[in-house]
C-alpha cells in the first residue's frame, strides 16, 4: 500500500470507527461555528448598512444639500413679480438684461481685451479690467445689466473668455413718484425697503403681481403740491397722506425729500427716510381733534360747557398760553375753532389723565401702527404720564406720532366711528369697511358733531385757506414747535393740516405736514399751518376731485361716487364739466 496522507488517515479511521465519528462530530461543531461567525458578521453588516448608514438617519442632511443648491440658483432663475398701482400702472418691474462676466481661463489676450473694455465702459480703468481678466478663478463679474448696444459692442471685442449671463434688472418706471412706498431692491434683487421689502418673499415667486392701493395720479398731485409748498416756504421737507377713511386704502403717501429708486448711487439718509410712516412728530393742535372728541364722549352736555381763556394757564412750573389770545371765556366750538391751547388744556383737565390716555389708546395713538411697511415708527409719549402731561397732550405737545398713524386715528372720528387700518395692498373683491366687519371705536352722533366742528375750522377758523367750494373740506390745523436742544424752538415749526372731505359724508382724509417752513412776503412772514399746509390741502383736494370725478356736494349721485377711485379714465371724462362747475 502506498504511503499517502490519505492512506495513513484511512488506516487510523478504520482502526477505530467510534473515534472517527467523534472526530467528524467535533469538526462539524467547528464548521457550524465558522458559519455562525460568518452569518453573524453578515447580520451586523446588514444592521450597519441598512440602519446606521441608512437613509433613515441621513434624511436631514440630504434635504439640506438640495435646499442649498436650490437657494444658490434661485436669484437668476426667477423673475421678480411686478408692483402696480390700483389701476394697473406699473410701479416696479423686472427687465431681462445681459450681464458681462469673464472666464479668465479662456481669455486669449488679457491686455487687448482690457483695453477694449476700458474704452467701452470708462467707469473702470484699464488696470482694473486687466487685474480681473488675469485672475486665477473661472468667474469674475465685469459689468452687470448691459443695454443691447453695449452687449453688441462687447461681442465685437470677440474674446472667447467674455460671456454673458441673463439677469433681471429691477426698474421703477415711475421714478421718483413713490419710492418710499414701493421701496427698492439690492443688487441681487432682495427687497430693501417699502413694499419690495415687506413682500419680498411673495415677489420672489414667479408671476406675482402685487396690486397696491396707490393711485399714481393722486400720488403725483400730492407730491407736486407738497413739493411746491416746500419750495415756496423754503422748507426742509414734507409729508402727506391721502387715505380712504372708509376702508383704509392708502391712495397716496409722500415723503419729501425723496429719491429716484433707479439711481441710488448717491443718497443721503434724509432722502431715504420715510417721514410719513417712520418719522414721528409732535404735530400740535391737530391733536385737539382727539381731546375735543374725548370731551364729547365723556360729557353728553359738552357743547354747553365753557372754558376761561382770559389768562394764561398756570399749572406748577408750566404756563400754557394761546398763540392768538382771545382773552375771553370760550365755548367748546370756539376753543376748537380758534385753536385755544388754554381752552383745550382745561378740557384735558376735565377729561382727566386716565380718560385721555384711554381714549388715545383706543384710537391706536399709543402703539405702533399695524401697517405692512417695515418702516414704521413707534409713537413717543410721556412715560410716566403725569397730570401735567394730560394738559399738554390734549393740544398735541409731548405726544409724537407718524402722519400715517394720525390719519388712521382721525378716520373713526369722521367716518361714523369705525376703526380702520391703513393698507397698501388692494384685496380682490372686498371694498368698504362695514359695521359688521370693523370695530366701533367712536360714537356716531359725536362723530357728526366733530365733523361740523372741523368744518367750522375751515369756514370760520384757522384754516380758511383749506376750503374748496362745493366739497365741504373740514379739518384742523396744527403748528408745532420742534423740540430743540433747549426746549421747544420757536423758529423751527412743523405746520400741518389734517383734512377730510366732504364733511357731510367724508370719504377721503388728506394730511399734509411741512417741515420747517419759513414765512414769505405773501404770507406776511407767517409759516403757520393756516398759511402753509391748509392751502396745500385745498389744492390737493381740487386736483383730487377732478382726477376722481367727484361731483360737488348736492350734485353727487351714489353711483358715480362709489366707482370714482377705480374707474379712473372713464369717470375722468365725466368729471371734466363737473370740475368747471366746482371751481
Amino acid at each position: 500500500m502506498k504511503r499517502t496522507p490519505f492512506s495513513k488517515l484511512s488506516f487510523t479511521m478504520t482502526g477505530n470507527r467510534g473515534a472517527a465519528l467523534e472526530m467528524a462530530r467535533s469538526r462539524i461543531v467547528l464548521l457550524a461555528l465558522v458559519f455562525i461567525v460568518a452569518y453573524t458578521i453578515v447580520g451586523i453588516r446588514l444592521f450597519d448598512v441598512m440602519i446606521l448608514q441608512g437613509r433613515f438617519w441621513q434624511d436631514v442632511e440630504d434635504t439640506r444639500a438640495v435646499e442649498a443648491a436650490v437657494q444658490t440658483k434661485a436669484p437668476e432663475a426667477v423673475r421678480r413679480g411686478d408692483i402696480v398701482d390700483r389701476n394697473g400702472a406699473i410701479l416696479a418691474t423686472s427687465l431681462k438684461t445681459a450681464s458681462l462676466f469673464a472666464d479668465p481661463a479662456l481669455i486669449v489676450d488679457a491686455q487687448e481685451t482690457a483695453k477694449a473694455l476700458a474704452a467701452l465702459f470708462p467707469e473702470n480703468t484699464y488696470e482694473n479690467y486687466l487685474e480681473k481678466l488675469q485672475k486665477k478663478g473661472r468667474f469674475v463679474w465685469l459689468k452687470r445689466n448691459l443695454v443691447p448696444e453695449e452687449q453688441h459692442a462687447v461681442m465685437l471685442i470677440g474674446d472667447p473668455g467674455l460671456a454673458f449671463q441673463e439677469e433681471y434688472k429691477r426698474t421703477y418706471p415711475q421714478g421718483q413718484l413713490a419710492p418710499h412706498i414701493v421701496g427698492y431692491v439690492s443688487r441681487d434683487e432682495m427687497g430693501q425697503a417699502g413694499l419690495e421689502r415687506a413682500f419680498n418673499g411673495l415677489l420672489e415667486t414667479e408671476e406675482t403681481v402685487l396690486k397696491t392701493t396707490l393711485d399714481i395720479r393722486l400720488q403725483h398731485a400730492l407730491r407736486q403740491e407738497i413739493a411746491n409748498t416746500i419750495d415756496i416756504f423754503s422748507a426742509k421737507g414734507g409729508a402727506g397722506v391721502i387715505m380712504n377713511i372708509n376702508n383704509g386704502d392708502v391712495l397716496a403717501l409722500v415723503s419729501l425729500p425723496d429719491f429716484d429708486p433707479n439711481k441710488r448711487e448717491k443718497l443721503d439718509g434724509d432722502q431715504i427716510f420715510n417721514r410719513a410712516t417712520l418719522g414721528v412728530y409732535e404735530l400740535g393742535s391737530v391733536f385737539k381733534i382727539f381731546s375735543t372728541a374725548a370731551l364729547l364722549e365723556k360729557f353728553p352736555d359738552a357743547l354747553s360747557m365753557t372754558f376761561d381763556a382770559r389768562e394764561p394757564l398756570k399749572r406748577g412750573r408750566f404756563t400754557i398760553s394761546d398763540y392768538h389770545p382771545e382773552k375771553r371765556v370760550l365755548t367748546v366750538p370756539e376753543v376748537f375753532m380758534v385753536s385755544s391751547n388754554i381752552g383745550t388744556a382745561l378740557m384735558g383737565e376735565e377729561i382727566g389723565t386716565e380718560g385721555l390716555k384711554a381714549f388715545y389708546k383706543k384710537l391706536g395713538l399709543l402703539s405702533k401702527p399695524d401697517i405692512s411697511l417695515r418702516e414704521v415708527g413707534a409713537p413717543l409719549y410721556p412715560r410716566p404720564w403725569r397730570d401735567i402731561n394730560t394738559l399738554t397732550a390734549s393740544y398735541g405737545h409731548g405726544v409724537a406720532v407718524s402722519p400715517i398713524q394720525l390719519v388712521a386715528a382721525v378716520a373713526p372720528i369722521v367716518n361714523g366711528g369705525l376703526q380702520v387700518t391703513p393698507r397698501f395692498l388692494k384685496p380682490e373683491g372686498e371694498e368698504e369697511v362695514t359695521k359688521t366687519t370693523a370695530m366701533r371705536v367712536y360714537d356716531e352722533q359725536n362723530g357728526e358733531i366733530m365733523r361740523s366742528l372741523m368744518r367750522l375750522v375751515v369756514t370760520e377758523g384757522t384754516a380758511k385757506k383749506a376750503d374748496v367750494p362745493g366739497y365741504e373740506v373740514g379739518g384742523k390745523t396744527g403748528t408745532a414747535e420742534k423740540p430743540g436742544a433747549k426746549g421747544y424752538d420757536r423758529k423751527r415749526l412743523i405746520s400741518s393740516f389734517m383734512g377730510a372731505f366732504p364733511m357731510s359724508a367724508p370719504k377721503y382724509a388728506v394730511f399734509v405736514a411741512i417741515d420747517e417752513p419759513q414765512g414769505t412776503k405773501e404770507s406776511y412772514g407767517y409759516a403757520t399751518a393756516g398759511w402753509t399746509a391748509a392751502p396745500t390741502v385745498a389744492r390737493v383736494v381740487e386736483r383730487m376731485v377732478s382726477i376722481l370725478g367727484i361731483p360737488p356736494v348736492g350734485v353727487a349721485t351714489a353711483e358715480t361716487q362709489e366707482d370714482a377711485e377705480d374707474m379712473g379714465a372713464k369717470t375722468q371724462l365725466i368729471a371734466q364739466p363737473v370740475k368747471g362747475q366746482a371751481l
Partner: protein, 385 residues
C-alpha cells in the same frame, strides 16, 4: 391497509414514512426560501428583462418552469434511501461530466464563458447539477475507505474532483471551482484529515488565489477595487450598498425599489440587494437567518447520526449551500470582492434551482429519522454497503 392506519406513524408506505421521518423544520424553511425567491424574482426581473429586450415576465416564467421540477426532484430525492441516493448521484455525475465534455463543441457562449447547453429552448448548465452529485459520490467513496481496508476511496474522490475542476476551468468558471474546492475541502476535513495537511491545503489554496490574482486581469481588478474603492469603478457595489441604505427598517415595499433599474444582474447575482431595498432590514435579516437556520439544523442532525457517509455528504452539501449564500450576500454588502454567485432558491437561475433542489433533497433524505424507524421496526439500522 385500513383507513385508521393510513398516514399514521405506523403506516409504512413511502409517502407516509417520508412525512413522519423528514425534517419538517428544514422543509418549512426551504419553502420560506422559495416564497422569498418568487417574490424577489417577480419584482427584480421585469426591469432586467425589459432592459435586455425580452417580455416582462420572461424570467419569472422561467423561474417557475425550473422551480417545479426542482421541487419534485427535492421531494423525490428526499424519499429515496441512501444507497439509491449515491447510485443516482453516480449516474448524474457521469451524465453531467459527459455533458460538460460536449460543451466546448456545442455549448452557448455568454459573457466570454461557455457553460451552457441549449435544450428545449432552455439554457442548461451541466456543471451546476454535477456539483451536488459530485459531493455525494465523493462522500460515498471517502466513507467506503473507512469500511474497507484496501479501498483507496479518497484517491478516487480526488480523481473525480480533478476531472470536474479541469472541465470547470476549461469553461472557465472560477466561481464554481472555488465553491467545489471549498466543498471538497470541507468533506476531507470532516473525513478526518489531520490539521497539518489541512494547513498545507490552505496554503495551496492561497497560492492558487495569488496566481489567479496575477494571472487573470479581471480577478486582479476586482480585488484591487475592493481593497481601494477610490481606485476604480465600483458601480455595482455602490448601487448595491445604496439599495440597502434605501431600505431602512421596513424597506420600500416589493416592487417599489429603484436600484434594480441599475444593477445588471438584479435578478441573479444581486438579488439580495433588491431584497434589502424592497423588504427592509427585518425581512432581509430573517432571510440571512433562514440560511443559517437550515445549516445549523442540518449540522445538528449530523451530530446524531452514526453514519460517516451521511456526515461527509451532508456536511459537504450544507457547506456548499452555506458558502454560496455567504458569497452572494457578502458580495452585495461589499464584505468581499464581488463574485457573481446565485443565492440558493432565491436567485433566478434555471439549472442552479435544479442543483439546489437536488442538494436539499439529498440533505433531507440523509437526515431523516432513521433511528426512530429502527425502533418501530424493532431492528437495527441498515448499513450502507
Amino acid at each position: 391497509m385500513n383507513v385508521a392506519q393510513f398516514f399514521s406513524r405506523t403506516d409504512k408506505s413511502v409517502i407516509s414514512n417520508w412525512f413522519w421521518t423528514v425534517d419538517k423544520g428544514a422543509l418549512v424553511s426551504i419553502f420560506a426560501l422559495i416564497v422569498y425567491g418568487l417574490i424577489l424574482v417577480a419584482t427584480a426581473s421585469p426591469s432586467v428583462a425589459l432592459r435586455i429586450g425580452v417580455t416582462e415576465n420572461h424570467f419569472l416564467i422561467r423561474h417557475i418552469v425550473f422551480l417545479i421540477p426542482a421541487l419534485i426532484m427535492m421531494i423525490g430525492v428526499s424519499m429515496i434511501s441512501p444507497r439509491n441516493l449515491w447510485r443516482l448521484a453516480t449516474v448524474i455525475y457521469i451524465g453531467g461530466i459527459l455533458a460538460m465534455l460536449l460543451i466546448p463543441f456545442v455549448g452557448m457562449e455568454i459573457k466570454g464563458a461557455k457553460r451552457w447547453l441549449h435544450l428545449l429552448g432552455l439554457g442548461l448548465q451541466p456543471s451546476e447539477i454535477v456539483k451536488p452529485a459530485f459531493a455525494i459520490v465523493a462522500a460515498w467513496l471517502m466513507a467506503m475507505q473507512k469500511e474497507r481496508e484496501n479501498f483507496t476511496g479518497d484517491l478516487y474522490a480526488a480523481g473525480l474532483y480533478a476531472v470536474f475542476v479541469a472541465l470547470l476551468l476549461l469553461q472557465p468558471d472560477f466561481g464554481m471551482t472555488m465553491v467545489v474546492t471549498c466543498m471538497f475541502a470541507t468533506q476531507i476535513f470532516l473525513a478526518g484529515l489531520r490539521f497539518r495537511y489541512l494547513a498545507i491545503m490552505f496554503l495551496a489554496g492561497l497560492c492558487l488565489l495569488m496566481s489567479a490574482y496575477y494571472g487573470f486581469d479581471h480577478v486582479q481588478s476586482r480585488i484591487d477595487r475592493f481593497m481601494n474603492p477610490a481606485a476604480g469603478d465600483n458601480f455595482q457595489v455602490n448601487k448595491s450598498l445604496e439599495s440597502f441604505q434605501n431600505g431602512g427598517i421596513l424597506g420600500t415595499g416589493p416592487g417599489q425599489g429603484s436600484v434594480k433599474m441599475y444593477l445588471p444582474d438584479a435578478h441573479a447575482d444581486f438579488i439580495f440587494s433588491v431584497a434589502g431595498e424592497e423588504l427592509g432590514f427585518i425581512f432581509t435579516f430573517l432571510l440571512a437567518g433562514l440560511f443559517l437556520f437550515i445549516l445549523l439544523r442540518g449540522f445538528n442532525h449530523l451530530m446524531d447520526t452514526e453514519d460517516i457517509f451521511t456526515i461527509i455528504a451532508c456536511g459537504g452539501l450544507l457547506a456548499m449551500i452555506g458558502l454560496q449564500a455567504l458569497v452572494h450576500i457578502c458580495s452585495s454588502l461589499n464584505l468581499i470582492p464581488t463574485k457573481g454567485m446565485t443565492l440558493p432558491f432565491i436567485s433566478y437561475g434555471g439549472t442552479s434551482l435544479l442543483s439546489v433542489g437536488f442538494a436539499f433533497g439529498a440533505v433531507l433524505s440523509l437526515t431523516r429519522h432513521k433511528k426512530r424507524s429502527g425502533i418501530v421496526k424493532g431492528k437495527t439500522r441498515k448499513r450502507i454497503r
